[in-house]
């Protein structure tokens, strides 16, 4: 039986890339020459100029030139090699991409890199002090607060930001009276405040234990 080789080689990728470049240079819509590509047929093909920007990440200034469409997450992962922040849903629902911006936790996947010039961005790579783990990192290790680990950087960054919110006296949906704020960081409070971070392995009980523990140390 004849075998068909479906493997993609480095050469075919290079050729494919070159063909796309030629199409772009011809000024014709890429999709117009490929009947199968219905979505690309309506794309604007005018090249968009990149935006020069400086992002301050983990206390280091990074000069970049990026397509305006680049999310903060893609800037971190694809342009700066900081792959600790994870891409889960890419729609702000799972929390795997959580980073700290000016000390506050946000979803870096629904945020444009260009919007963060001048911000202090901290990723999972910037939490430890040399070999000394951040207390929340250490607590996740001590309590086995993960299984596959994919959501863990987001969980940890989220927990660091969340504990800061608690320290500032912010109430949550689990607080009985918003006027007075949280009486104590109960497990119900931790679970409510961490609901923006999904763990597919369902390591939740150990995550809650780790955060409960870290809350006393941070």
């Amino acid at each position: 039986m004849a075998e068909t080789d479906y493997r993609i080689t480095r050469r075919t990728v290079l050729e494919g890339g070159a063909a796309t470049c030629l199409l772009l240079a011809s000024g014709l819509p890429v999709g117009a020459q490929d009947a199968g590509a219905t979505i690309t047929a309506e794309r604007v093909t005018t090249p968009i100029s990149k935006i020069p920007m400086t992002l301050r990440i983990n206390a280091t200034e990074q000069a970049l030139e990026l397509d305006p469409r680049t999310t903060l997450l893609d800037a971190l992962r694809n342009h700066l090699g900081l792959t600790g922040s994870k891409k889960g849903c890419d729609h702000g629902q799972c929390g795997a991409c959580t980073v700290l911006v000016n000390g506050r936790r946000i979803n870096s996947c629904v945020s444009l890199a260009a919007q963060h010039e001048g911000d202090e961005i901290t990723t999972i790579e910037g939490l430890a002090d040399g070999d000394q783990l951040h207390p929340v990192q250490a607590a996740f290790v001590a309590h086995d607060g993960f299984q596959c680990g994919y959501c863990t950087p987001g969980q940890i960054c989220s927990a660091v930001g969340m504990l800061e919110e608690v320290r500032a006296g912010w109430p949550s949906h689990a607080s009985t009276d918003v006027a007075t704020g949280p009486a104590a960081l109960s497990d119900a409070e931790i679970r409510e405040r961490m609901s923006g971070n999904i763990c597919r392995c369902a390591a939740y009980s150990n995550i809650v234990a780790a955060i409960r523990d870290a809350a006393e140390e941070v």
């Binding site: 604007v44 305006p68 469409r69 946000i106 629904v110 930001g161 918003v178 704020g181 609901s195």
Partner: protein
């Protein structure tokens, strides 16, 4: 995502003018909803004007005794503000019942009000949707419509407005301040900001192109007890099936005045004056609560999977009122 150009606005005036200059331009602030939709190419702006750094991030006292909330105040800052928590607790409760900690840290006050529906057919480009593609039809009418509207909908669209904040704002008689491209301003009562779908569900608000929300003002805090009750499929981080914002002022055993707005049931935050009329002067007990609930849902139409929302909304109104009068 479709390509676009990006600029950071230097002033309110410049921002409004920059959007007005291009028909496919949009404002971006927190971006939590807009970028989500842009990735799916449901939103396809060719130019984004970033307004997130404009100096509209303060909450100030008004001379009348209310609060003026800058359009760029983040949801988390608004929910945590001590004046909001003590004088307008229904607003904090509503905000904290919505989204996640990460989203609330990014999402702006104005962006929350202008967020778009989460109707699955609006999100699915392979399905008809009059909101996404005018004239294509509404797949939700005969489809999976468990989350959809029972009030204010039309044959063209039965999507609901997803905001919790807007529901509390409606109960508090908030007003929206806007800046127009030509430099003028106007004030819109919150209940007039969103439009009902009728035959044009793609036109969602009464704002013009390039008109920018600069603030939301709250009148002096109303007397009485404020409560936000949200019923949803998950305990956290889920949109409302039904929500009720209630402000109830008692006078002895009677209700002096009640204000009620509902979320999750209509294409806009749904203030129910009929129920408020029933409650004014009535004894603060169940016969009046039930009558109010019946009148609030009098015109409700179920579409099959969402029929349950009608009795659920009635029960939620009764329950919220009962809780509100306990120590109002």
């Amino acid at each position: 995502m479709q390509p676009f150009t990006y600029e950071r606005a230097g002033s309110v005036r410049a921002a409004a003018a920059a959007v007005a200059a291009k028909p496919e331009a949009k404002f971006i602030s927190g971006g939590t909803n807009l970028l989500d939709l842009m990735k799916l190419e449901i939103e396809r702006p060719t130019h984004l004007v970033d307004i997130s750094r404009l100096p509209l991030d303060r909450i100030e006292e008004t001379p009348e005794g209310g609060l003026r909330i800058g359009a760029q105040v983040r949801n988390s800052d608004l929910a945590a503000d001590l004046r909001v928590r003590s004088r307008y607790p229904v607003l904090s409760q509503a905000l904290l019942a919505g989204a996640s900690g990460q989203i609330r840290n990014k999402a702006s006050t104005a962006g929350n009000l202008l967020q778009r529906t989460r109707c699955p057919y609006f999100y699915d480009r392979n399905m008809p949707c009059n909101k996404r593609e005018p004239g294509s039809g509404c797949a939700a009418l005969e489809g999976f419509n468990r989350m959809h509207a029972v009030l204010g909908a039309s044959e063209a669209c039965i999507a609901v407005h997803p905001s919790d904040l807007a529901v509390a704002m409606a109960a508090l008689d908030a007003e929206v301040e806007t800046s127009l491209p030509e430099g003028t301003t106007r004030t819109i009562p919150i209940v007039d900001l969103h439009r009902l779908p009728a035959s044009t569900p793609h036109v969602e608000t009464t704002l013009g192109h390039g008109e920018m929300i600069t603030a939301v003002t709250l009148p002096p805090p109303p007397s009485g007890r404020q409560l936000y009750r949200k019923v949803r499929d998950r305990a956290s981080y889920a949109f409302a099936l039904v929500s009720v914002a209630a402000v109830v002022e008692k006078n002895g055993v009677r209700i002096r005045r009640a204000r009620i707005a509902m979320g999750g049931v209509a294409p806009k935050p749904w203030r129910t004056l009929e129920a408020e009329y029933v409650l004014a002067g009535a004894e603060a007990a169940d016969p009046a609560f039930s009558e109010a609930a019946e009148s609030a849902l009098a015109g409700a139409v179920g579409r099959g999977s969402n029929d349950f929302k009608i009795p659920l909304a009635k029960r939620t109104i009764r329950q919220t009122l009962a809780a509100a009068v306990e120590d109002a």
